[in-house]
């Protein structure tokens, strides 16, 4: 073990150190990291998908009524209010998750939540998505961080935010009851394709257009209930819309499911989650995220082997990552994303309520949550975040936020970087003309920008 290990553990596997964590380094870094791989909960979320859907349906219904009759200003005003209050709550939930990652005692789980939320990226591209997008990670991803990837995959695929985002809610099998009655309706292969390409096997891993169609057909009928009275609000399997056939995916036959059961596609998803190619794809992405843009082959193989052996048990795979010697190179190879940059500054400086608030700050720095605009999520390549205008943005923001920090710069530096702090940086921040300038320099120092 090198003397740098504890700070590598803080920065590479977490969101930087904080005063409490500096004490914890006593127990041994790997033990400390592994001990965090337990349940990570977002307590008392400010908004649930059920609440979001209830309000979306209410809003749509009211809007139709108001649009049809040129109603009083009052009705228009109420409608605006409904919309505004729903968007405010969804915004508060996003802020809540970010705040928790600043204060958590399980920083590695906060990072994993961010990783998988980006892996299963949804964007706030319209009113529905802006309302519901932040509930996906809270309800479908966080509860499975200490469990199996297959459970996470099924939960995510069933979640209304994903069904909306990748347009599965109206995907109808051509030979289903509804399909036969209404010839203009049909299948939408967007979700099926992205599951294979992005969420599981990975692009160019040997699946075909037929596989895309088989999975998409299996997913017909996976929709969102609650528009009609009496329906459960949330995921609903609509048997009338389900393609009533056996499907063959990657050469495996999946029999027609029993009535009113989404089991056919669930079986497909479980097999996909435990496929060797998924193991490779996800291990590579995880190693790339935590360690290096070009992760060592040996590391990826070790993780992938533990994925196969544990059937995609996430803590087991993470343990393989943590225990691998290649994960502990002193050389920091990743350039922090704006999100990691902001959270690690707040954490080290013990800032919670910053101005502008966290979501707004990330928007300015180019990484507002749920705004990647692509189901592939934000880039995880250092190069994509290290550009001239993004550096200037960070300098300007660092100088701005430095004005809100109460702790002395050298204290923040010791907390944040420990013995990773370079002699030159320490000297230069001590010589700065003001506390504010000193902190801005610390935040922009090479060892703070990389992890």
């Amino acid at each position: 073990m090198s003397k740098f290990d504890s700070y590598i553990a803080f920065t590479r596997f977490g969101n930087g150190a904080s005063p409490e964590l500096a004490k914890l380094s006593e127990v041994g870094t790997q033990t400390w990291l592994i001990s965090q791989l337990t349940k990570y909960e977002i307590l008392a979320p400010k908004l649930t998908s059920e609440q979001a859907l209830t309000n979306i349906f209410l809003y749509r219904k009211e809007k139709r009524r108001v649009d049809q009759s040129p109603d009083t200003n009052e009705a228009q005003q109420t409608l605006k209010e409904t919309r505004r209050s729903l968007l405010t709550r969804s915004h508060q939930l996003t802020e809540q998750v970010l705040l928790q990652s600043i204060h958590t005692e399980q920083p590695i789980q906060a990072r994993l939540l961010d990783f998988f939320s980006n892996h299963f990226s949804v964007s706030n591209s319209n009113f529905n998505m802006r309302s519901i997008a932040p509930t996906l990670e809270v309800e479908a991803i966080a509860p499975h961080l200490d469990g199996f990837f297959s459970d996470m995959l099924v939960s995510v695929t069933k979640h209304p935010a994903m069904l909306y985002y990748l347009n599965n809610e109206n995907s109808i099998g051509a030979n289903s009851k509804i399909g036969l009655r209404r010839k203009t309706r049909g299948i939408n292969e967007n979700l099926g394709r992205e599951i294979l390409e992005l969420h599981t096997l990975g692009v160019n891993s040997g699946y075909s257009q037929k596989d895309v169609q088989a999975l998409s057909k299996g997913l017909t009928g996976w929709t969102i209930g609650g528009k009609k009275q009496g329906e459960h609000i949330g995921f609903m399997f609509r048997a009338n819309a389900h393609e009533p056939d056996e499907q063959t995916l990657l050469g495996v036959r999946y029999p027609e499911a029993r009535r009113n059961s989404p089991q056919q596609a669930i079986d497909m998803l479980i097999d996909l989650a435990q496929n060797k190619k998924t193991a490779m794809h996800l291990s590579y992405k995880l190693a790339k995220h935590f360690i290096s843009d070009n992760p060592p082959q040996k590391l990826v193989q070790a993780m992938s082997a533990s994925w196969m052996k544990s059937k995609g048990h996430i803590p087991t795979v993470m343990k393989a990552l943590i225990e691998h010697p290649e994960s502990w190179s002193v050389n920091a190879q990743k350039f922090k994303t704006p999100r990691e940059f902001v959270i690690s500054i707040c954490r080290a400086s013990q800032l919670g309520n910053i101005k502008p608030e966290l979501v707004k700050t990330l928007e300015i720095l180019g990484q507002a949550p749920f705004s990647s605009g692509s189901p592939a999520g934000f880039s995880d390549n250092a190069k994509d975040w290290a550009s001239a205008s993004s550096i200037m943005n960070r300098i300007e923001w660092a100088e701005h936020i430095a004005g809100q920090v109460k702790l002395p710069p050298i204290e923040v530096a010791k907390i944040a970087l420990g013995n990773l702090l370079q002699v030159n940086t320490e000297k230069q921040i001590a010589r700065a003309e003001s506390k504010r300038q000193s902190l801005a320099m610390l935040f922009m120092s090479p060892e703070f920008l990389r992890r």
Binding site: S125, L166, N167, N170, S171, I172, A174, G179, T184, R185, G186, I187, N188, E189, N190, R193, E197, V203, N204, Q209, K360, E363, I364, G366, G373, S374, A376, S379, N381, K383, D384, W385, A386, S387, A388, S389, S390, I391, M392, N393, I395, E396, W397, E399, H400, N424, T425, Q428, A432, E433, Q437, A440, M441, M444, S445, P446, L449
Partner: protein
């Protein structure tokens, strides 16, 4: 040459209407050339201050809803429900093609011979992943190279600098030769203190990556043409307008890349595309306003990563397809005001894998020829930009 091309094109459109496909290649006379003298192949050429703007439409634009082949009976069989509401407002082009009614400005440009559409184009990529296809489009190579973009290769042959309207450097502007592109994007905070900038330079002394970035960031900040506007979530029209102003005020910047997303219309596409087309149309107008007189020296290329399915899917949208269209615009096009490319037909057997519009020419060939004429590049230089193409 020009006349022959025109004849060829008319012939193929007629034959295409009869369900046949002819061979045709884009010709180098599409754009006005500043000079007739061919530069020697190894020297960078510089015929003055000619600008190129590339607008990348991310998400795969449905060309069949943009440039409508109103002569093709099959089209209406596939698209009745999405075309009905705009059928009577289509903006006519030549040879039976028409523009979606949202493209009001483009249609005016077409009449002034400052805009041409090219139909049924694609790269050589035949899978249907957005992200791979975009990387392909940006690198311009048969085998994707994430550090080697076509616009970066192109600018090496026409001395000058490049600009990305973005916070980060897109693949298209990454160069293996190590030249870095300028990036510009509106900022939100007050400019950093001068002394802090100097001190950071000191702090980065031993860090090549960071000192390079810092130096570039300072140069950009001090460039009066790149002063930011203080908007947080800029609209495409604003970005396009600033892009035009920077290009027109800064003689060193010769090319720029703009991006516009939102084209992945898997559901209810009629309304969504109406908004997207208007945004693009307004954006091009703003770009032109920003360019001012420089518009006469500018070539604008608009492309997307692939097309969409010919048939509508079950949710009134379209899924990932193959061929799409591209747009070429400029204040000084000899052959503006045309619909170029070959129409492959829409009968089931004419489609790619019986579902997508069949590509009939490589989008890169049109880009190459456009650059060749506009920047006065030699054929060898074009081949160096797109080494996988057989260029005439």
């Amino acid at each position: 040459m020009t006349i022959q091309h025109k004849t060829q094109r008319r012939e193929f459109i007629q034959t295409a209407m009869a369900g046949c496909v002819l061979l045709s290649v884009p010709l180098s006379t599409t754009f006005a050339s500043a000079s007739n003298t061919k530069p020697s192949s190894n020297q960078p050429s510089n015929n003055g201050n000619k600008k190129v703007v590339w607008i990348m439409l991310r998400g795969a634009m449905d060309s069949l809803h943009a440039v409508i082949p109103s002569f093709d009976k099959n089209y209406f069989a596939y698209r009745t429900s999405s075309i009905n509401s705009i059928k009577d407002e289509l903006l006519p082009l030549d040879d039976g093609y028409a523009l979606h009614p949202a493209f009001k400005h483009l249609h005016q440009l077409y009449r002034k011979k400052q805009y041409s559409a090219v139909i049924a184009v694609a790269t050589n990529y035949r899978e249907r992943s957005h992200f791979e296809a975009q990387d392909h489009m940006e690198s311009g190579l048969d085998e994707i190279d994430h550090e080697n973009g076509w616009l970066a290769r192109a600018i090496q042959h026409y001395q000058g600098q490049s600009l990305a309207i973005s916070r980060t450097i897109p693949i298209a502007l990454r160069s293996i030769k190590g030249d870095t592109a300028n990036t510009w994007y509106p900022s939100s905070f007050k400019p950093a203190d001068e002394d802090l900038m100097d001190r950071l330079a000191g702090l980065y002394e031993k860090d090549d990556e960071l000192s390079g970035l810092l130096q570039q960031a300072v140069e950009q900040r001090d460039n009066p043409n790149m002063m930011s506007e203080g908007k947080n979530r800029p609209k495409f029209t604003l970005l396009a307008n600033r892009c035009g102003e920077i290009l027109s005020n800064d003689p060193n910047i010769k090319c720029a890349m703009l991006e516009l997303g939102g084209w992945d219309t898997h559901n209810n596409q009629a309304g969504r595309l109406q908004r997207q087309f208007s945004l693009l149309d307004d954006g091009i107008k703003s770009l032109q306003e920003g360019l001012g007189k420089t518009w006469d020296d500018t070539l604008v290329l608009v492309t997307t990563e692939f097309g969409r399915t010919v048939a509508l899917n079950g949710t009134s949208g379209t899924d990932h397809g193959t061929a799409s269209c591209m747009f070429m615009l400029g204040g000084n096009m000899k052959q503006g005001g045309e619909v170029l490319g070959k129409w492959p037909g829409l009968a089931v057997d004419d489609l790619f894998e019986k579902r997508d519009l069949m590509p009939t020419s490589d989008v890169r060939t049109w880009i190459a020829k456009g650059l060749q004429t506009h920047w006065g590049l030699s054929r060898q230089q074009s081949s160096a930009i797109f080494p996988d193409l057989e260029l005439s």
